[in-house]
């Protein structure tokens, strides 16, 4: 079990946003958290990622009980174990793609030379070979999100947390980003939790957790090799 929450509660003032979430995610799983606006899905992601602390309940990441960590320890766990991908890419506009990707490594004490070499390798992996020296403003939305994914991957995190990663992209580019994520993750055995309200994104994961009013409403596993569905059979039946 790589991520586990126990009776997780979060209140903002008198408003309960999460009301007792028990979540289990296995290593290597690709999980979607879905639900309407205000269902608590982003808040859940923030608590799992140690970006915020719960009002009640516990979060474990691997062997760490996040509630027992000091702020510094929590920051270290975030830096070393978790890669974040957001809807807005949060790239640094004044440095180029490879420097953006190398940044988390440099901040963690890796030499500049090695950091840039590793950045180039990951940029290549996400399909940005040749664009390493471009600045964020010179790249398309889809390319910027690829840089952001590379930046998340470069620290070789065990967990990737993504909040509406394709929310700012058109459908086609969003599909490509999901294909990239799936492909990359399958090869590197990372665990991913993606928060989305988009059925198209959720449907491409292994398991969908649906929140409603701060509670888990449904958990469904998506079978990879199920029998061909009715829709697919209809397609093959001809006109």
């Amino acid at each position: 079990m790589i991520i586990r929450t126990e009776n997780l509660v979060k209140q903002f003032g008198k408003t309960a946003v999460l009301r007792g979430i028990n979540l289990h995610v296995q290593a290597g799983e690709f999980v979607a958290v879905t639900g309407q606006s205000g269902s608590g899905k982003s808040t859940l992601l923030h608590l799992i990622g140690g970006l915020d602390r719960p009002t009640g309940g516990k979060v474990w990441l691997e062997d760490h009980d996040l509630g027992t960590l000091t702020d510094d320890q929590l920051a270290a766990v975030r830096r070393q174990k978790i890669g974040y991908i957001f809807q807005i890419y949060n790239l640094i506009p004044v440095v180029n793609a490879r420097e953006n990707v190398a940044m988390p490594l440099i901040l963690d004490g890796v030499s500049r030379k090695e950091a840039l070499t590793r950045a180039d390798r990951v940029l290549d992996m996400v399909g940005l070979n040749g664009l390493e020296r471009m600045f964020p403003a010179e790249l398309s939305g889809g390319q910027q999100q690829r840089v952001a994914i590379a930046r998340a991957l470069v620290i070789e995190p065990s967990i990737i947390l993504a909040d509406e990663p394709t929310g700012a992209l058109d459908t086609r580019t969003g599909d490509d980003i999901m294909t990239l994520l799936r492909h990359t993750l399958r090869h590197t055995q990372r665990t991913v939790v993606v928060v989305t309200h988009d059925p198209r994104i959720a449907a491409r994961t292994d398991r969908i957790i649906t929140l409603r009013d701060g509670m888990i409403e449904d958990v469904m596993s998506l079978a990879h090799h199920a029998a061909p569905s009715a829709a697919v059979l209809t397609i093959q039946g001809g006109l």
Binding site: T179, P199, R200, E217, L222, A231, I235, G238
Partner: protein, 191 residues
Amino acid sequence: MIKFAILALLYQHEAHGYEISRQLSLTLKNDWDIKAGHIAVTLGRLEQAGLVDFRLEEADAAPDRKVYRLNEQGVQALRDWYLQAEIRDYRMGDSFYLKLIFSLTGAPVMPEEVLLNQRRRLYQELHQVMEMQAQTNPQSELPLLLLLETVVLHIEADIRWLETCSQRIADLKQYQPGTPSPQPRGRPRQN
């Protein structure tokens, strides 16, 4: 429907029945299981309707083959077909719709369960179709890719519709269809 597929092909070049059948499966990149007989019958009807003409082509050690071509009337019929917009059949009476409406007014299961089950099924479907789509070659299998994309978008729309229903479930449960007003039984009495 196959009638227009044949006209569309014959507009591009003249052909005999077997060629038509092979070209259809090639163009549509589909497991086309229309029998050659079906195509022959349709060609006969098109001929009777005055939309296609044919010439006879001699074949070695076989009966002469009819090679069909589109005539002027056929081109006009094809033009009309291309330019007539199509409306999808929304099937108000489909099975899920009935389940939802009746579950709102009293059923052995809750409407929430009906919605949840349907949602799960649609997500499985969406997952499979999108997997297929990811494995489809965008160049050589373009027709299949386009077809899968419309399936994806329709399933997506259905999922969103279910979510709208779930969000409004408290209101939906207030629905009262009313009862039919009583009708006099038996034969009308004569005064």
